[in-house]
Symmetry: C2
Subunit: 415 residues, 2 copies
């Protein structure tokens, strides 16, 4: 099927909103896979779950005490206790095998099955057992069904307990365990291929030397891909050789390809041309700062993101476009995943109408301070920053003292 | 060294704040371990990191263009361009080997090392190169140092770039990569032993049957332990046999032991007695709902938490006491890790002065609705809930319509 190829020179830059809308419209969650129960926390349910059993599957005691026929305790008081013959014990997992007849009681622990014949539990605190005599004196009346958990009180057979699209919490998976699930249908985790190009790059773990710098973009991308619930495929740093880049970009296993470096319009920027030849380059050049050379397209079934090589541009382009797409493919929300805080702005932010800005800010004395740095190559600005402020395209900037919403980089609340 | 053993009958219950304060005072971060760079995201730095190199280690071009001696461009304009002889090309990772003399220019790409002799870069957009003639006409003046990233502009050698206690973000690890770190000293992840007891329990993955129910607490705990940055040690469900429980509780590998089930004062509740014999039972019985039978103590170097077997009690006791301790051992914040939202309360919550309550609430029409359920055994209430409201011990309850802070169970913002 031929694709709508819209080549854009940088003379015509797309709006951020236009690109976001394109991505939203073209992304649906991946198909499901079967996941072992203990690996399900954080995964997204692919279909509704209906309970096939009642929980509990038997009436159970909600107290430590004595199982009796409740109406036989009517009239019992401290002054006038009623005596029962103790005929045995019911423990969790070890029910009393017989039945409770008139005048009888069974010692029972919390969670133990209620013996047949009994319909209530008197709590131990109002009972006095005489072990030798095999009798217990009950000094408070209990109504039938008192202190008894009925069949299905937690979950009823046939009940729809969890819905497709749910990101499973620890307690959700606990519930799936309690209704006997060993495997769960979850949305498949997206697989992300990293294509890192640059003759100047040494692999992570090396020492920078001479004209060579150490790749940091793959390290940052892997961290974000993991945060967004996807899996990074194995990768290696590629030289700026078109054939190698084309081959890596065409990775059949990938749902998403992230190309870092060579995304612009310069001499060594092979990626946009290759993508438009092999698939579609839907956007190239976006009206934003940083990350304006970003390219976005598709190749086979995969989305391809051409991320600028400058570390801050790479990060911002990931956060605006690749991150939401990856999360949606995995069945999650495409919304910014960050916690948000509001602070007044310490200094104005200048922007331009028509352009969306991603501004790192530090926190100083309760104010958000825009980090004035020499640009998109300064990774340390994202380390010094507490988070980022987005200046929407309709705005010329933000005035000093205005309250700004900061997308926080840290996940924790401080103590 | 003898320990301060304060056995408490349930007649004397500790306040939540007292227990929290005890745990805070007795917890310090674990020692460090060396972690490979690519596994560091989310880990906590054990010591400050000082850069041993400059980034960049060479002056580099911030633009695609031509490297020249800036002062030679003074006076250049569209009407009166100045011509330079093009003597070669500088690419990232492939510097121009010679030096730029008077009247000369070197074609240069973003990120490439600035050739010797040059001190500025004119951007390509204001240049016209005649390849045949080997000349370029520059129609805009650039000052020396223009479009040049100086040595150390991102990170300076000797700079303290990250501080001990920092929970590493993806970009932090990217920065560590760029300064040549292959391994990082991080606070060791706490190791958590789960001791799940109960003759009534089947392992996760089994189908509930007869008087047997399927263990859900271990599933929930493992999810929370993972959320809190710790590692769950292998475990199996134990019968209610004191020797087996004592042995499992004494796991030498564990920094934290979570015992679920058998924590109360009933016939089969061995854990408190065992803990007070083998180590110290610092608290037993806490003035809270649910989770009042919770016990807390120490055994060797490990913290031991005796969590009630009822699933909601187990969850709440983990969140109040075990979770903060585990996070602090791992160098993280002990604060509640949840996102928070404020909504008005749809119905009053009744509590009691002196008791701390953990109340699950659902969200309906913009209001927090307390889930009225028959108690701590109803795991499905934590599945239906959007989060929990804490009613502090000083309060008698919370009135209908009052705004409450809800600790949200979900990590995502919705789209």
């Amino acid at each position: 099927m031929p694709r709508d190829v819209r080549m854009r020179g940088f003379a015509e830059r797309a709006d951020v909103e236009e690109v976001e809308s394109f991505l939203r419209q073209n992304t649906t969650a991946l198909l499901s896979e079967v996941v072992p129960l203990l690996e399900c926390v954080g995964r997204v349910l692919a279909r509704d779950v209906v309970a096939e059993v009642d929980v509990p599957g038997f009436p159970r005691s909600a107290m430590d005490g004595y199982a009796i026929r409740g109406e036989e305790s009517f009239g019992a008081s401290d002054y006038d206790p009623i005596a029962f013959g103790v005929i045995g014990t019911a423990l969790p997992g070890n029910p009393y095998p017989g039945s409770v007849e008139a005048g009888q009681a069974v010692r029972i622990m919390t969670g133990a099955p209620l013996p047949g014949g009994a319909d209530a539990v008197v709590m131990a605190e109002v009972c006095q057992e005489d072990l030798k005599a095999g009798r217990v004196e009950v000094s408070e009346a209990v109504a039938p069904r008192k202190n008894v958990g009925v069949i299905g009180e937690d979950i009823r057979k046939g009940e729809r307990v969890l819905f497709a699209g749910r990101r499973l919490r620890p307690q959700d998976v606990g519930l799936l365990s309690s209704i006997g699930h060993a495997r769960v249908d979850c949305v498949r985790r997206p697989r992300v291929a990293l294509v890192i190009t640059g003759d100047e790059l040494l692999p992570a773990g090396a020492r920078p030397s001479g004209a060579k710098i150490v790749d940091s973009n793959s390290v940052v991308m892997r961290g974000l891909v993991d945060r967004d619930g996807a899996e990074s495929l194995p990768f290696q740093i590629l030289p700026d050789v078109p054939e190698r880049i084309a081959e890596a970009m065409s990775n059949q296993e990938a749902d998403v390809v992230l190309v870092s470096g060579g995304s612009s319009v310069g001499q060594e920027d092979h990626a946009p041309r290759l993508l438009s030849q092999l698939g579609s380059l839907d956007f190239h050049g976006i009206s934003m700062r940083p990350s304006s050379p970003t390219g976005i397209g598709r190749l086979g079934d995969a989305f391809v993101f051409l991320l600028p090589g400058n570390p801050v541009s790479c990060l911002a382009a990931y956060e605006f476009f690749a991150g939401p797409t990856i999360r949606r493919l995995g069945g999650r929300s495409g919304a910014w995943p960050h916690r948000v805080a509001s602070w007044p702005l310490a200094r104005k932010i200048a922007s331009a109408i028509g352009r969306t800005d991603y501004v790192r800010v530090a926190l100083e004395e309760g104010h958000a301070v825009p980090l004035a740095t020499s640009g998109a190559s300064i990774l340390s600005s994202t380390v010094r920053a507490v988070g980022a402020v987005i200046v929407p395209r309709e705005w010329e900037g933000i005035a000093e003292g205005d309250s700004v919403e900061v997308l926080l980089y840290d996940e924790d609340r401080s103590e």
